[in-house]
């Protein structure tokens, strides 16, 4: 038989490994491009976080209908994610914005604790997007939830000090957001390091644009980030987080236009393809919305990684 020239790259560096939750889940650790066993000794597949909210305002009805009523209680919703096979819970506290819901700081802390107690899965907490509220509630959670290591989502270039300080004080991780640009992604990690956040407490979110809405940009930015990390750029050697739920906002994914087939199946593929592109370009943690998409992607990721 023909002898094939060796094509394995010897990168020399790898992405950091970060334990989350109660320490039994670890993200990151890639030493090569995704799923290539001939150059990447890590058999770890990307983690999958299921999205849970404290309020259903603004949450797609089609998605809500896929959780058999259990979406009404955040802890119960999180349990359902665990049953589906999720490795983490992504809690989006939209209801802390008074124009949306009535969740108070005490409620938010209680919800996080309940999810932790019932699922024992690692948790990523995300605010409502209103700065003053997030600055009040997320630090409360950081200081009152101590026996599980949270990921605090998310800090940005203009606003990272308060949440990073709170995360550090509580022994939690932070998620650094940047907008589709390898240099900004790196800049965020430098800012956080300079501020005192340890590199193994940082996750990065370079903004995954969904299929049909700029996915190509994200796919290439992610690939460049991962290649640079493997080739030795220390400031990019942190696990990459990609949100795929935005796929639900793409008109083609859910429209009722005749000839496009069943929207529930279509949106599942829309999100699954977004997630596959994310993990093929380097994502170590996928934050997903739809249960069937998450299930498909987990099975494929397990197979690709060559073990679970």
């Amino acid at each position: 038989m023909a002898e094939i020239p060796s094509v394995a790259e010897k990168y020399g560096s790898k992405v950091g490994e970060v334990p989350v939750g109660h320490g039994d889940y670890v993200a990151g650790g890639a030493g090569g491009m995704p799923f290539l066993s001939f150059e990447n000794p890590s058999k770890r597949r990307p983690m999958i976080a299921g999205e849970v909210r404290d309020s259903l305002v603004g949450y797609p009805e089609l998605a809500a209908g896929m959780f058999s009523g259990r979406e009404k209680d955040p802890a119960d919703w999180a349990m359902m994610w665990k049953e589906i096979g999720a490795d983490m819970i992504f809690l989006r506290l939209t209801g802390t914005d008074p124009s949306v819901g009535t969740t108070t700081a005490e409620d938010a802390v209680r919800i996080v604790k309940e999810i932790d107690e019932r699922t024992r899965l690692p948790i990523m907490v995300h605010g409502c997007g209103v700065q003053e509220i997030d600055h009040e509630i997320l630090p409360r959670i950081c200081s009152e939830v101590r026996d599980t290591r949270l990921i605090v989502s998310c800090v940005e270039e203009e606003d990272y000090k308060r949440l990073s300080a709170a995360a550090m004080a509580g022994g939690h991780h932070v998620l650094a957001f940047s907008n589709l640009d390898i240099n900004l992604a790196k800049q965020m990690n430098i800012l956080l390091s300079d501020f005192g956040v340890e590199k193994d407490n940082i996750f990065m979110d370079p903004l995954m644009a969904p299929l049909g809405m700029g996915l190509d940009y994200s796919y290439s930015v992610n690939e460049r980030i991962r290649l640079s990390a493997l080739r030795g750029d220390r400031m990019l050697q942190v696990p990459m987080v990609c949100h795929t739920g935005e796929a639900w906002d793409v008109a083609d994914a859910t429209s009722d236009e005749p000839g496009l087939g069943d929207p529930a199946h279509r949106v599942a593929w829309w999100e699954a393809i977004t997630a596959i592109c994310a993990m093929m370009s380097g994502a170590d943690l996928l934050v997903m919305r739809g249960p069937s998409a998450a299930d498909m992607v987990r099975v494929y990721a397990e197979e690709l990684a060559g073990g679970s």
């Binding site: 299929l211 290439s220 069943d262």
Partner: protein, 441 residues
Amino acid sequence: MATAIEYFKLLPKTNCKDCGQPTCLAFAMLLANQKAKLEDCPHVSGEAVEAMKESSAPPVNTVKVGTGENAVAMGGENVLYRHERRFENPIAYAVSVSDSWDAPRIAEAVAKAKSLAFDRVGMVFRLDLVSVSNDSGESDEFLAAVDAVLADWDLPIMFEINDVGVAEAALSRHAALKPLVYAGETADVEAFAKLATKHGCPLGIRAKGVEAAADAAEIAAKAGCKDLVLDLGASNLKECLEWQTIARRAAINRKFRPLGHPLMNRVGCGEYAVATAVLSTLKYGSLVVFDGLEPYEALPLFTLRQNIYTDPQVPIQVKQDLYPIGDPGPHSPIMFTTNFSLTYFTVRADIEKSKIPVWLQIVNTEGLSVLTAYSAGKFEPERVAAAFEESGVLDKSDGPVVVPGLVARMSGKLSEEIGRDVVVGTNESKDIPKHLREITS
């Protein structure tokens, strides 16, 4: 492509100027920039020219299936990552019909294949090929099935035939259509290669794993076959990803000819088949043949192909035009934004969410987003007014004209230009529905 130094090594280094250049090195630089041909130097040896042609040929062959403007080109790739350079030829998707089906069933399958076509902002996403599979093992039935397909399908076709005799009969009749003949896994690689070459048609073969595929490719090459498509015989996603990556890296990074061919996958239907197609679209596939494909699978898959094969250097643009959303009337709001497709899609999706009909005017900003275009002077009130003029939107509706919040500064000037009041909209696209409800209630 070879570098100037690689060319320089082949030249006699006498600086005789017969090529019209002052030195051999100057000539080599022209060669590297493809501004001259090696033959322009009369003193370079014939073997050197041949050797250079060989090594400067693209690392992956280009194979064409079908004829005319609908022909599908596969392969021809030069890079491993799309950020380096635009991928050349988009992956093709095919759906297979069986020659053991009766004519009505074939017609139904072809009609379904044709229905997998979607008009998307100035582009049509569609299925590329119909494949006819020789399940009967008979020539007559195969030819009848091909006729049944051709009755209603005028895009390229391919044949899945495992028997050289049947392939001979099929190509004798249909070689002019330049179908791809996919022999699958066969002991007759040489015979198939000779047959395809004789008829000037491309050949697809399957061999399990990169080593076996390289061997088969060598046999086909020796038999004169240049237009080869390789199926590495992956039986799962992991093999598909790893083998296709090894083959493509060997071809591009190591100039390993036997694997320098477009790659294909023969899948079934359903979830796993689509997942394989997704991986193959991302990592080096040129053709996926399905047993069947549903519209809810096809639209996301075709969208993926469009995304992956865009030019990474050029932001994707939509055409400057008036896009009615919902069913806008004479009092509906008029909105406008840039022709950067990401902006367009986002704004469009958010308008749709509001369920309020809107006239959306797209202004050509050369693919820049709102703020970038504004600071680059490509999203000025004059330009917006000219676009309004061109589409006649101001005559179609007396509704409010909404200026994107990020460029509120242009309000005064725009209002002057168009002789109408304007309102300032939201900074963020996601707040559009709320704002629309406010201004229309």
